[in-house]
Symmetry: C2
Subunit: 367 residues, 2 copies
């Protein structure tokens, strides 16, 4: 939450419950069932609550546009199309990823209860919000949760100038005892697209190493994606390990889509409804991949949690570098933001609030 | 293989079979059974064959020193201590990781045959060579293989000056049809320790972003680890995503050691036998984590492989950046090196050859 540019980024604050009611009503208005509308709303707003504003209610209009374009099915028949004791493939029937993903993660959890672990690859889905939300569903079951998804191509592999991969995030949620859980949720790029959007609003440049221009030259232009530039894989360049970020993003793509029968690589359907669909798609829709591992499939849960507490406490008290107060545990900043926003509400930049008001007018709803 | 510094890095070439016989004899000389000596040799030399010279026969003397120090058990009773249909915990009985890891990976493969996937966490082990070798064991079974391990602490988390994590690699091997398999094998740091060693021999500096000094300041000193400096997580600094590399390395540590009961974080036993063991270790030895997923637990193997071929061909023909010939698929450079060394032999730098000759003298073996 950055208050230091009030004229460039004015904000309005909305209580969670208020945004919840509004968002749920929008999903109902496009034809979602009560249950699906509630699931989609909870998934979407978890991003706003955790401070990942680019993936929350700011995308609601985008989801509605996908529905208008006939790319999102508001009444999907989501089902398991293949399974073994520890695996399943789910077909999302072109539903909202916000609904398909929790369904598939629940299948993974149910499999893990029986077989120790559960692994579910999903085809024919759409954008699923933040990966961390789905991974965290496992926590209350004393399970480790994993979630990943492919996304439309914005990232150039090492040595390439062609956009071949999405920001393809990986989330891992691990339960602890007294300590809050470990929750990693990371795009396999140096910087996620949402960070470019923030810089665009400020008319600011990116650091070197986030993006390249259409010729593969280093760039600091936050608008470079509109000029055929590309995001760089985690590591930025070959000398700093970009081939590792490229490999990780590729694994996400293959687990999410080649295992399930979704579209992959440069053929992943775009989020903006005005962008034409790729030609000759090799599969159906976006793909996701979920995992759940019962902690006590390895050792007693109480023992595991005791050691996780020890792990977390030891890392949190690692000697900080000068100028830094402490070492963070993955998930710390998002959890702290959630605490703040629970009481203080969710700030929306004016452009997002305005877009939502227009959406409300259309469906006779008041933001 | 760098021939451009002949005076700094003179080399001798040894045929694979020759090094195999020698290495196997050394393992037998310290008391390994014939079967264990063969397994350990094959695992170790796979690194030399794939061009990862830092993890191959160059480490043989180090393994022997660990045995001398009583930290490696040459006749381990490796066993499953806990299991479910899709999981197991293996206790390596302080054996060579080169032997323990293939055992555990085989358990994962066997589980996958029955349950669709298999996941094995390992405690009480030692360094296991290259992660990629173990992951690749799954390929001939039409399975996806995964391997990771923790290692002694050389890496400072973001915002820290304390070494808390090892280079904690992740390997993922994915079968294809006509195309060779996709094999990613990456340290979760910007650069692996082996790359520093190469620069040390050349008296060369590292690029900025690989290491920091003891005060957390940027450094280009390839010898900084001897001066209380640290390796940096993949991403190098916070602006370039080092918190992501730190999170990935942490996941490897937790899956490998907190799940199994191995030692973790700063308590992981060191590879050099002359470095004292950490005090108050929270678990036994090093930890590893292995996974195997039957491809046909998701979709028919023939379909999967056809799409993997398509994926690989599309990425390999992605538009290259000026000055680059083509985009590489993870595993390409190592496979090409293996082809070369199969016929040309394995080059050893003089210092390594000399160390091995001394080892040979001691056991009445000729290199």
């Amino acid at each position: 939450m950055n208050h230091s540019f009030p004229t460039l980024r004015p904000m309005q604050i909305y209580p969670y419950d208020h945004l919840y009611q509004f968002t749920q009503s929008v999903f109902k208005a496009i034809g979602c069932s009560d249950v699906h509308a509630a699931t989609a709303t909870q998934t979407l707003l978890s991003a706003d609550m955790r401070g990942i504003d680019s993936h929350g209610v700011a995308r609601l209009t985008g989801y509605v546009r996908l529905w208008e374009a006939g790319r999102v099915n508001a009444t999907p028949d989501i089902k398991i199309v293949h399974e073994t004791p520890s695996t399943a493939v789910v077909d999302g029937d072109a539903g909202l990823g916000l609904v398909v993903a929790p369904f598939a993660m629940q299948v993974a959890i149910d499999k893990a209860r029986q077989a120790g672990t559960g692994w579910v690859s999903v085809r024919n889905s759409n954008h699923f919000g933040i990966a961390g939300y789905h991974a965290m569903m496992a926590l209350e079951q004393d399970m480790i949760g994993m979630a990943m998804t492919n996304a439309s191509a914005l990232v150039a592999p090492t040595f390439s100038i062609e956009r071949m991969l999405g920001t393809n995030p990986i989330a891992v949620a691990i339960p602890a005892g007294e300590e809050p859980p470990f929750v990693a949720d990371l795009a396999t790029t140096t910087a996620a697209n949402g960070k470019l959007e923030i810089l665009q609003r400020k008319n600011a440049d990116t650091p070197l190493g986030w993006v390249q221009d259409k010729d593969g030259q280093a760039s600091t232009d936050a608008n470079i994606l509109k000029k055929q530039g590309a995001l760089l894989p985690l590591g930025s360049d070959r000398d700093h390990g970009s081939h590792k970020g490229y490999a990780l993003g590729s694994v996400v793509d293959i687990f999410s889509a080649v295992l399930s029968g979704a579209s992959y690589g440069p053929w992943v359907p775009p989020f903006p409804a005005y962008v034409a669909m790729p030609e000759n798609m090799p599969g159906k829709g976006l793909g996701h991949f979920f995992g759940a591992m019962r902690v006590d499939a390895f050792r007693p849960a109480s023992e595991f949690k005791e050691h996780m507490d020890n792990w977390i406490q030891r890392f949190r008290t690692a000697k900080p570098a000068p100028g830094h107060e402490k070492v963070l545990i993955p998930g710390d900043p998002e959890r702290e933001m959630e605490q703040v926003r629970k009481t203080a509400g969710i700030p929306l930049v004016d452009s997002v609030a305005k877009e939502l008001q227009e959406l409300g007018t259309r469906f006779s709803l008041v933001l």
